[in-house]
């Protein structure tokens, strides 16, 4: 029992928290891939931007980071629409891979702006150590993990409501299933594209803030997560927002649990190689089931 509690406290629960971060980021990558037909390489840097926006509110106005989160989400959403209008819109009719190169440029621009404005030092939202919160028996969870998971559930529920009930959400799912069919049935595709960036960018900003809370804040906090995000989007199935959430959670838990000493006393996978777990999952999916578990699209 104690071993199980240790396993959950140290590996499984943190894995779920990390999985929530991946899920929030991967939903945007999956939707953008399906609707705009390109892999958005600057997504990690949009996450970083959101994290730093929240940091500014925390540092200058003394807000709690969880309050700043709301404005950071708004900032990330608006910044994404702006980036799309300035950088990606001229490429709507170009082959998708050209936009990927453009997203390389966006990645450089966003990251160097962050480095210019906020510097390159490692920052923290709050200092000091907090005791984990006892749950049942020996089970304990860090406060930040509880908050990350609860807020992520709220965000996922709102996303579900938006995608299943609102007209725009339905249009978005229609376009991600089949863009041409959506267009000839009279859906205003440019509006759907704007909403895709609002949703994807907002969720990315939330993921970035959570990533900053979970560890530390630095200019490559989002870039470091890009690989697990892609893995999560592919695992869930491109164009399937719910798949991306499941994929994100699966990759997050797999990465943390893989560092458990399954054989002998040493971690099975050294913590420095967590990202290799995500890469391994991604490669396996590409070989055996590129459509992902939720039967998404292979473009």
């Amino acid at each position: 029992m104690e071993a199980l509690a240790d396993f959950c406290n140290l590996y499984f629960f943190p894995g779920i928290a990390v999985g929530c971060i991946y899920a929030l980021g991967a939903v945007g990558i999956s939707l953008i891939f399906a609707i705009l037909r390109f892999a958005h390489f600057a997504h990690g840097d949009v996450m970083t931007l959101g994290a730093y926006l929240a940091y500014s509110l925390v540092a200058t106005l003394g807000w709690s980071v969880y309050v700043a989160l709301a404005l950071a989400v708004l900032g990330g959403a608006l910044a994404s629409v702006l980036i799309d209008q300035m950088a990606y819109k001229p490429f709507r009719r170009s082959p998708g891979i050209i936009v990927v190169i453009a997203s390389f440029g966006v990645m450089l621009v966003v990251r160097s702006l962050i480095q210019l404005f906020w510097g390159v030092d490692v920052l923290n939202y709050e200092t000091g150590i907090r005791m984990p919160v006892p749950l049942i028996g020996d089970f304990r969870m860090a406060q930040k993990h509880i908050i990350i998971i609860v807020v992520s559930i709220v965000i996922a529920a709102s996303l579900h409501w938006f995608l299943s009930r609102s007209r725009m959400g339905k249009a978005m799912r229609a376009m991600s299933d089949d863009a041409d069919l959506a267009r000839i049935s009279g859906i205003d595709t440019e509006r759907v594209v704007r909403w895709t960036w609002l949703i994807g960018g907002g969720l990315a900003a939330a993921a970035g803030v959570f990533a900053g809370i979970n560890s530390k804040l630095h200019p490559s906090v989002g870039w470091d997560l890009l690989l697990p995000l892609f893995a999560a989007a592919i695992l869930g199935g491109i164009g399937k927002p719910y798949g991306a959430i499941v994929g994100g959670l699966a990759i997050g838990v797999a990465q943390e649990v893989a560092t458990y000493p399954w054989i002998g006393d040493l971690p099975l996978v050294p913590p420095a190689y967590k990202n290799a777990v995500a890469f391994f999952v991604m490669v396996c999916m590409l070989i055996w089931r590129p459509t992902g578990i939720f039967r998404g699209r292979v473009l």
């Binding site: 490429f91 453009a102 480095q115 210019l116 890009l226 420095a272």
Partner: protein, 315 residues
């Protein structure tokens, strides 16, 4: 000789050597993107494999990492290329049947993991300290003649690659490659093995990138995790090829020269900035390169020397 003039000449030699190394990398990327339309987002990884292989094979023996084996530098070059190709092959096998974006995701993944391994495994490559005893060919000739000779060697490698790439461009192999790039279905319909052709372009291109890494390790006499940053490898090389003109071997080299001039020229400018700005100047250069890439893609997507349409046979 006048000290200032000597410094200027040495600076020109270093500029030209870097141009040659980036020219090699651009020719390699042009094989993948210009010929076959393959998006390689992990140039840094293949560069690192070539560079570290050279460093381990040629440096004198050390207790801190694998080897060094003290090989003659020229012998290490083919091994560096071979290793890069060996890593590219399975990646290509898995991804080349899918849309280009999947190759981009997989290459960025493999490249980050290669860099992770080289950074974390101290026994292999001395971890973050890197290897700083890589011999450079001709260095026994002293300054400046050793540098001139090495510059000549780099330019010779680039020239050979250029001639080979030009020959490949007009060969049936190059024509099939462009046909696949421009219309995969039509090329498959006339019996071209699409995945195999792509795999060839991808592996050969990655081998050339490994060669570029090897030359770079020799030139700097050092390789460490800072030298394989994607900014200086993956991104810069992409910007060079796009600006120079993808699908044009000469364009690839012109792009390497132009962008490297801009990159090092801005360094001269930013060094005159007030002290508090100098530390941030490298971010301003990255910003500039990013904006340049987006603007060129939007406005002048064909680059300085655009791809030439094939000559008509009926004249």
């Amino acid at each position: 000789m006048d000290m200032q003039l000597f410094g200027l000449i040495m600076y020109a030699i270093s500029l030209a050597t870097m141009f040659g190394i980036y020219g090699v990398l651009c020719l390699g990327l042009n094989l993948q993107w210009g010929f076959a339309g393959l998006f390689n987002a992990g140039i840094a990884g293949f560069f690192a494999v070539g560079a570290y292989a050279t460093a381990i094979l040629t440096s004198p023996e050390s207790p801190n990492y694998l080897g060094g084996f003290g090989w003659p530098p020229l012998l290490a070059l083919p091994i560096a290329m071979l290793l890069s190709g060996l890593i590219a092959w399975p990646v290509g096998r898995i991804c080349l049947g899918l849309k280009g974006d999947y190759l981009a995701m997989a290459t960025i993944g493999i490249s980050e993991i290669i860099r992770l391994i080289l950074k974390n495994e101290d026994w292999l490559a001395n971890g973050t300290m890197g290897i700083s005893t890589v011999p450079r060919p001709f260095e026994s000739l002293g300054q400046p003649w050793g540098n001139v000779a090495f510059l000549g060697f780099v330019l010779l490698v680039m020239a050979i690659l250029y001639l080979a790439a030009e020959r490949a461009w007009i060969s049936p192999w190059g024509r099939a490659m462009r046909a696949i790039r421009d219309n995969e279905l039509a090329a498959a319909a006339i019996g071209k093995d699409v995945v195999r052709f792509r795999l060839e372009a991808f592996v050969i291109g990655s081998m050339v990138m490994g060669l570029g890494g090897a030359l770079s390790a020799m030139y700097f006499k050092f390789i460490g995790s800072s030298a394989t940053e994607p900014l200086l490898t993956t991104f810069l090389v992409w910007v060079m090829l796009i600006i120079g003109g993808s699908g044009n071997n000469r364009g690839a080299m012109v792009g390497a020269g132009l962008v490297w001039l801009i990159w090092s020229g801005t360094e001269l400018l930013t060094n005159r900035l007030p002290a508090e700005w100098i530390t941030r100047s490298s971010y301003m250069r990255a910003l500039l390169i990013g904006i340049l890439l987006i603007v060129v893609l939007q406005r002048f997507a064909k680059g300085v020397l655009p791809e030439k349409p094939p000559r008509r046979i009926d004249g």
